[in-house]
């Protein structure tokens, strides 16, 4: 596919792909962000489910970690974009890559739905005698979505194009 070839042929993307050090360093940053900021997402969701950080109000957890999650998300996405675009031709036929992109789009939909309902008004959740179901639904969906994103991301590395498989058998 020429467009994917064109993308990865952009000067600095070629350099990233061919560098022995820059590529793994970008990947490490991507993974470190998953560890740190994925962990923050997990903690927020567990608080919404009433399973962790219970001595804190929902509002203080959601508001207190919001900027850090945003920062982490931005770094994670930037690194992911560099990884994906520098190997665009390799990723283009990979079904796990497209599953991952699809799931990330669902994360976006999740945000569109649950920001106005849950995350933008955490004080309301604290005022409720029990944690409202909509907050728990948001948390469970967020956990499932992010774990699936991680899983698909990891599986990208295990997929081989058909030609390669045939070549191995021969």
């Amino acid at each position: 596919m020429t467009i994917f070839h064109d993308i990865q042929s952009i000067g600095f993307l070629t350099e990233i792909r061919e560098s022995a050090l820059v590529y793994p360093v970008i990947m490490t940053t991507h993974l470190a962000c998953i560890a740190v900021f994925g962990g923050l997402i997990l903690m927020t969701d567990l608080r919404l489910l009433g399973l962790a950080l219970k001595s804190q109000s929902i509002a203080s957890v959601v508001n207190g970690l919001r900027n850090w999650k945003r920062l982490g998300f931005c770094i994670m996405v930037t690194m992911g974009l560099l990884l994906g675009t520098s190997e665009a031709e390799k990723y283009q036929p990979n079904p796990f890559f497209w599953w991952k992109m699809g799931l990330l789009a669902m994360v976006g939909v999740h945000a569109l739905i649950f920001r106005p309902l849950v995350y933008n008004h955490p004080e309301e959740l604290d005022r409720s005698p029990v944690i409202p179901t909509r907050a728990k639904v948001a948390a469970v969906l967020s956990l499932v979505l992010w774990m699936s994103v991680v899983t698909m991301g990891r599986l990208i590395g295990y997929w081989e194009p058909e030609q390669a498989k045939v070549a191995q058998v021969e």
Binding site: A20, Y23, P24, M27, T28, L31, A32, I34, A35, V36, F37, G38, G39, L40, I41, L42, M43, L46, A52, L53, K54, S55, Q56, S60, V61, G64, L65, N67, W68, M147, V150, T151, R154, L155, Y158
Partner: protein, 149 residues
């Protein structure tokens, strides 16, 4: 010892099913997201950068169980991954670095880090938190570089 490692039944099981290895890796990533994420919550508080309405001591108490849960997942899936190809891992520079960093990070987390997190805010606490983040990031980096050295 090495022959045992090379022919261990767990390694065979890991290598003979197509999904066992990637599945373990996914658990490994989710496990360290949970453990490192919870530790970093405490670190951010110690640095005075997040959740200032509470104390690091309280956060440590709240997150301890989840850190332990993440570590458990990590320390089960990790050795399984290792057993799939012990000889390769033992000879891998990055793997050795990672295990060293991991041991230091765990020890640090349950000694100095725990002690200081239970105390009041101070410049020392900030330093301790920063070292904690650096230690855990170097564990992740060491793990990733196994595939690149």
């Amino acid at each position: 010892m090495f022959t045992f490692l090379m022919t261990n039944p767990i390694g065979d099981a890991m290598n003979n099913t197509e999904w066992a290895f990637p599945l373990c890796e996914c658990f490994h990533i989710i496990g360290f997201a949970l453990s490192i994420g919870t530790i970093v919550v405490v670190d951010l508080r110690m640095l005075g950068l997040a959740l200032k309405s509470t104390t690091s001591a309280q956060l440590l108490k709240d997150t301890r169980m989840w850190t332990m849960a993440g570590l458990t997942v990590m320390l089960i899936s990790g050795p399984l991954i290792f057993l799939s190809d012990p000889v390769m891992y033992m000879g891998n520079q990055s793997f050795r670095f990672k295990i060293g960093a991991l041991l230091v990070a765990i020890l640090y987390n349950y000694t100095i880090h725990a002690k200081v997190a239970k105390g009041p805010d101070s410049p020392t606490a900030k330093l301790v938190a920063l070292v904690s983040i650096l230690l855990w990031v170097s564990v992740v980096a060491g793990g990733l570089f196994i595939a690149f050295v």
